[in-house]
Symmetry: C2
Subunit: 470 residues, 2 copies
């Protein structure tokens, strides 16, 4: 038997295809209901939105032969679902998140929280990040349970991923004895293109900060005071331009790059092989121009190098027209993506120190920290993931790093061990660049859901087999 | 007869005091009604707000023995009111504006468009800028008419002053034959302190611009694209920091200062004499610190030197929390105060040229231009204004420049001539630093209204006398 042949053959394969056909409507209805619950963790529209989401998720498991618990935290609850077979079978844990980014952009062409269906494409906030992939993995697991694949499948559905997973550590710490698992698979990553699946071998970390400056009590008239009044927005801009070069992206904080490990030769070789296209990337993201067009340089910049971004400046006059005041209060929203082995808390310390030398009146508040993540680049879990991708989409995935951050992963590895070592983690992402992660008109599509169900079923089979063999 | 003795003496003076006493309630009711019409020219809440204001103003004249016309323009109408005595009498024109600044600041302690009366202090947007002074001058004129002072008093009440008087020139050009006048008095300037009235000898001009940068179609995820995506807010900050130094205020546009005339020795001597207090200025404006604490340097900075201010940056994520996107569209709202003989259009050209050398993708839009204004520093009109101030408030005004801008003045002098020379202009302002021009909790007070009525009555008498003597 060739190593990449699908285990489900003949009748089995026909049953899977029929399951997918029979469950398409269920998928669309489910995604529609999940998108309609506006779980914006940064700015929830009403307090009970996360309870509502958790109850909907719990009900999904309970009506499909599984069980689910809603675990409260100091913030939003975590849903832990389970399709249990036997304590003697191995256990695989699937991680997704059900909170979403804000959807305040004016360029949404339809209501972000009402699923808009355009043939096999589904538009709505959270469609691809990460409700669509969560539902795909869930359907695959319910099929695996129905087929009695000898595996226990646990789901961890977090609802604070988009705000730095701030209560996830206390959840894992408290529940670690209930969360024992042989491996973790994360479904919250993005392909190179619709034709090129990937498996991530690392993630960037994150440090979010807010800089604040208050030079007076209230904004003042620029005719009366302009020339001598300090301008809070101007001084923040000045400081930010001394913390980084906004044109090149170079960070100017002394010591910032010291612990940033450059990618290995092997990783760079994998990057070279991965089928990344500069022009497709530019087109997918609708950029007019970019900081670099050199292919390898571009990949290094988005996957393996740290960044410094201004997300917004609040203060002064932000509505229509020009109001000639000298703003006295301003706030700059900033984040830095970090790479292994940069430590967010160390970087925060360096930032604070450098800022003090620039402008002593600016205060800095740490808003969120996520450690960078180094994943596996070889071993049985990687091979199983590769086989599953191949089975679902007919193509071998390439190994790249991911530029985003998933705060839950370093935490899971810190508390969950297999034979004393951190639990192995792999990635089975389903999102595509054109799905618009964190962007207006976010969407998911049936092709990814259909292939995704096949991929996850194959992954569950592989992991079940693997464990029998050990 | 001593030159500063008030002409209204004995019975006359008693009648004026009784008029003021009898009209206090009328003043408060009138101000309350005017503040309740939210004439925010930069962002009107509904289209008919200026018609409503114009009709209210017209009615004021018609019910007080005067007449008034509402003159339509391509923007907001101008109200021209008149108390007419005889074509043989001289004519004085009082300029005010009835539009107001936006009132979106969160620190308003009561609704900005509902007059809050706290003893003899009146809080509301436009109370001091410029509805309160307009109403004060109006009451004085209605008393002068009632007393049959041999003078024609015309009022020009504009409603686009806060947005650069963009249709005022076409109004004056079209109506110049109806607007013939022997002198103009502007009541829209601010004292040094509650104890020190001023007469302005010059005003700064203004150039408002909006810088825009669009580096892609939509904001993108900073994990997916950060490092290679251009950051529109960051690049705007960079450009702005190359156009000026936000800490010192120094403008870095080549040629910017070339035509800026430093104040004369006489002017500087007047500044020195004017009773300006650094600590009172700081306290009145509620500043924590300022760019300068040197008294003469501070006065030069706010009255006689040009500025560059950032009023706000729009783009990216401006609501609660941090959203890790790379903003692809951003807009910086900027204005420059200009001094004689800087020309706003020339400065705009220099700015555009320099910006092109900084970042070719940034576009710049001219939002408003106002020429700087050189007023009279001597002559009969200045003397009459000084006598009027003395009569109203018991103190001689000092001569300073004003840091603000009134776009209408250069226009009025361009089209209205007396014996071929530009019509003389003087200033009788009533606002105090603590009134909060353009700031939250803007207010006016009865002391200024009461003294203001006396001041204007005396000014009208002086101008009537002056003309009889010629």
């Amino acid at each position: 038997m060739p190593s990449i042949a699908p285990p489900l053959q003949g009748q089995d394969s026909i049953r899977l295809n029929r399951f997918i056909e029979d469950n398409k409507e269920r998928f669309v209805t489910g995604l529609s209901k999940m998108v309609a619950i506006p779980t914006v963790s940064a700015d929830p529209p009403y307090p009970s939105v996360f309870t509502q989401m958790a109850e909907y998720a719990q009900n999904l498991f309970q009506t499909s032969g599984g069980t689910a618990k809603i675990v409260p935290t100091n913030g939003n609850p975590v849903v832990v679902g389970l399709f249990h077979t036997s304590p003697n079978n191995p256990t695989i844990t699937v991680y997704n998140h059900l909170d979403v980014q804000p959807a305040t952009e004016s360029s949404w062409t339809s209501d972000p929280f009402t699923l808009r269906i355009d043939k096999d494409r589904y538009f709505g906030r959270g469609a691809t990040d990460d409700k669509g992939p969560a539902l795909t993995a869930f359907l695959a697991a319910s099929f695996a349970a129905q087929e009695k694949i000898p595996l226990n499948i646990r789901f961890i559905w977090e609802m604070e991923e988009e705000v730095g997973s701030r209560n996830f550590e206390s959840f894992v710490k408290t529940k670690k004895s209930d969360l024992k698992t042989d491996g973790i698979v994360v479904s919250d990553t993005i392909w190179i293109s619709a034709r090129q699946p990937v498996i991530s071998t690392g993630l960037r970390g994150l440090l979010c900060v807010i800089l604040r400056l208050k030079t007076g009590q209230e904004d003042r008239h620029s005719g009366l005071t302009g020339g001598v009044a300090r301008n809070a927005i101007g001084e923040l801009c000045d400081a930010v331009c001394r913390l980084h070069n906004p044109r090149t992206g170079e960070v100017l904080i002394p010591g910032f790059y010291k612990k940033a490990k450059p990618p290995t030769k092997k990783e760079l070789a994998d990057f070279e092989q991965c089928g990344f296209s500069v022009s497709r990337f530019k087109r997918d993201h609708k950029f007019h121009s970019m900081r670099s067009r050199d292919r390898l340089d571009l990949m290094r910049r988005i996957w393996a190098e740290p960044t410094f971004e201004m997300h917004g400046i609040v203060g002064g006059h932000m509505s229509a027209g020009v109001k000639t005041i000298v703003p006295q209060t301003a706030e700059a929203k900033i984040s830095m993506r970090l790479v292994p082995d940069q430590d967010p808390n160390e970087i925060f310390h360096l930032l604070k120190k450098h800022l003090k030398s620039i402008n002593t009146d600016i205060t800095v508040k740490k808003n969120a920290t996520l450690s960078p993540f180094k994943g596996v680049t070889s071993g049985p879990l990687m091979e199983m993931a590769e086989k599953a991708m191949q089975a679902g989409f007919g193509r071998m995935p390439v190994r790249i790093r991911e530029g985003g951050s998933i705060g839950a992963l370093p935490t899971l590895q810190k508390y969950l061990k297999v034979n004393g070592a951190p639990v192995p983690v792999t990635f089975l992402g389903l999102s595509l660049p054109e799905h618009g992660y964190h962007a207006p008109n976010e969407n998911f599509d049936w092709r990814q859901a259909e292939g995704g169900i096949k991929m996850f079923v194959r992954f569950f089979e592989e992991t079940a087999l693997q464990k029998w063999q050990k």
